[in-house]
């Protein structure tokens, strides 16, 4: 556990720039997605084993706090996928290591580009259904 404390402290202190940021982001996004995955398999199994409980779970997901959670989940999955692809590509073609910084910043940029419309569309769904607001 001491190593965990060290990691948390050093992530805040050590100025590893974009490489370290990419690594800790990848790890946190992966762990967060895994946590949701486990919960999601359980609630989806209610469709088969307890339909009433499934309706209850869906009702919870429709509420604002869970919608905000889902928007964060989308960012986690998109970032983890884009950055993971960068890692896989660099492992496959080590020559790409020469462009490590550009590729890392590129992964951040691509994440932002993909996430923006996702956020807009999910925001629209939530505003319409929760408050009857039609923005666009």
């Amino acid at each position: 556990m001491a190593t965990l404390v060290t990691t948390v402290r050093e992530v805040l202190r050590y100025r590893g720039k974009e490489g370290q940021l990419a690594w800790i982001g990848h790890r946190l996004a992966g762990l967060g997605t895994l946590l949701f995955f486990v919960i999601h398999v359980i609630d989806t199994s209610f469709v088969t084993f307890a339909p009433q409980l499934y309706e209850h779970a869906i009702e919870l997901y429709r509420a604002l706090p869970f919608q905000i959670g889902e928007m964060i989940l989308m960012l986690a999955v998109i970032y983890h996928g884009v950055n993971g692809l960068r890692v896989a590509l660099m492992d496959w073609r080590p020559a790409l290591w020469d462009h490590q910084r550009a590729l890392t910043l590129g992964a951040f940029a691509l994440t932002a580009v993909l996430y923006t419309p996702v956020l807009l569309i999910m925001g629209r769904h939530a505003l319409e259904n929760l408050y009857g607001i039609h923005l666009f």
């Binding site: 556990m1 965990l4 199994s45 469709v47 309706e55 999955v77 998109i78 080590p94 020559a95």
Partner: protein, 139 residues
């Protein structure tokens, strides 16, 4: 700095090499699988349209969607749990703690795989009228 001839794969353990390769190949496969799942569930549809009826009549009425969900369950599950194994190895160095956490990890993995697979296999088969083609079930 040019690194062109270095071997990046983990050396020594056959299992670790296999796990390393699995993370990359399954990661590439999960991009269409997971991104597709999120796009269908949250962009094309939304949680305000999804309910019991929707899942049964529009999704699981078609074998293709049950298979899609099964692949997502297995590939994402193994990818995620192997990732957590790496995290455990990074932070839990005490042999007993390391072992205990991994036993819990494998137990939870088996439970989640069994629950998810059983749910997909045993869900009732009720097709919505007119939804005879996989494309009908998209929207």
């Amino acid at each position: 700095m040019a690194i062109r001839s270095t071997t990046l794969k983990p050396q020594g353990s056959r299992f670790e090499t296999l796990a390393w390769k699995y993370m990359r190949w399954s990661g590439v496969l999960l991009i269409p699988l997971a991104f597709g799942h999120l796009a269908i569930m949250h962009l094309i549809n939304s949680v305000y349209e999804i309910d019991y009826q929707w899942v049964i009549e529009k999704r699981w009425a078609l074998l293709g969607w049950r298979l899609y969900d099964a692949f997502l369950l297995w590939f994402a599950g193994l990818h995620g749990f192997n990732g957590l194994r790496t995290v455990i190895n990074d932070y839990a160095h005490h042999p007993t703690l390391n072992r205990t956490l991994k036993v819990l990890l494998i137990g939870l993995l088996i439970l989640i795989f069994a629950l998810g697979t059983a749910a997909l296999l045993l869900a009732p088969q009720e097709a919505e009228e007119g939804a005879a083609h996989i494309l009908d079930s998209l929207i």
